[in-house]
Symmetry: C2
Subunit: 224 residues, 2 copies
């Protein structure tokens, strides 16, 4: 970039503004403030995605597309049926990689918030992370199979703007009975995501798009 | 597969049933009918996706994930700002490849309908294809930028079950003025897909997930 180019800047308090480069020096760039960016690019509710460790590079995909679609955090967790393992020695590197993907996707989407990544190495850690959220939904294939189709819209209808929601997704093999039982002991809503079977990396994108549609596009229908 | 394995069969009229393999012969497999599959896995409205030819393997991605999310057809079209070109000689091969991807994704999702693929080699062909649809929506970035946020939900609210909807998406560089002008002459609804900038391959997935949420999960809220 060079003088006269325009840049989109996000400050530490997550306020965004437009600026123009006036000078590029050896170790600094001088900007001229143009205008505050008033358009709100963050979802009205804060949604975090907990994904049972999937195979291959699916987590990269979930973090990239999930960031584009507005997630505020990603918690990969070691699910009972996860085939992929994260060796403790390599965890820091893997997290760094996902952080980089989230940062780039946030910039490309002009988000003001860069999603946080945190690894839950066992079910206990995930249960502890859950405590921080106002609402928890578990996307449950068995619910979809059983034709469940009201929970998600009912929960969305109940969540006030500004509240936080954690959504849990199983790995390819689904969640185990133990996991479902443990979530059931907490105040977790088990929700189906429609009648088609979604892959483990597609389900979080469905959830985030549905939330955007509910809170950002169809809001007036729900609040009538 | 072998005797006693169970298979999911879809007949030519798109009715699905469960069967058991009783015998595997040299050139045929004998099945025993078990039960009709009553769960409906097709979206209540028929959605086709028209994508301005995107770069790289993004079309593979759109077809795979779009099939999982319920699209009934894909129309790649040569948009004015498409960087990728499809040489006439190679078009048939490219279509075959996408048909294979759609078929595999439909099987994996237990869909009863395999999406159709058709290439629109110029704007005129796309305009002709449009005629066959009850509704046409154009996902328009400028609408999103301008804060438009009611069109999609209003159109969804209006579309009756069983109707067909074509949704048009631009390539990476967006739709050209000419294209937008031509669509504007037809009865096309220009809709924003929320405040975050979505990549060209993410926007169709957003649209399909929003439609599933509207018609399959939150239906009772809209019909109150």
């Amino acid at each position: 970039m060079k003088a006269n180019d325009r840049v989109f800047v996000v400050d530490l308090s997550e306020r965004a503004f437009l600026a123009e480069i006036t000078e590029v020096l050896e170790d600094q760039v001088v900007l001229r403030f143009l205008s505050w960016q008033e358009s709100e690019t963050e979802l009205p509710i804060r949604i975090a995605i907990a994904s049972g460790l999937p195979k291959g590079d699916k987590l990269d995909f979930i973090v990239q597309k999930g960031t584009e679609l507005g997630a505020v955090a990603f918690y990969p967790f070691k699910a009972e049926r996860s085939v992929t393992k994260w060796e403790p020695k390599k965890t820091a590197k893997k997290i760094e990689r996902l952080e980089r993907i989230a940062k780039e996707a946030a910039e490309q989407s002009h988000r003001t918030h860069i999603p946080k990544i945190e690894f839950a190495s066992d079910l206990g850690k995930l249960l502890t992370l859950m405590e921080a959220f106002d609402y928890v939904v578990c996307a449950y294939e068995e619910s979809s199979r059983a034709g469940e189709k009201n929970v998600l819209a009912t929960v969305f209808e109940e969540i006030p703007h500004g509240a936080s929601l954690l959504v849990i997704f199983g790995p390819e093999g689904g969640l185990s009975e133990t996991e479902v039982e443990q979530f059931g002991k907490k105040d977790v809503h088990f929700a189906g995501l429609g009648p088609r079977i979604l892959r483990t990396e597609t389900a979080p994108l469905y959830l985030l798009a549905a939330a955007s549609y509910h809170f950002e596009l169809a809001d007036s229908f729900f609040n009538e």
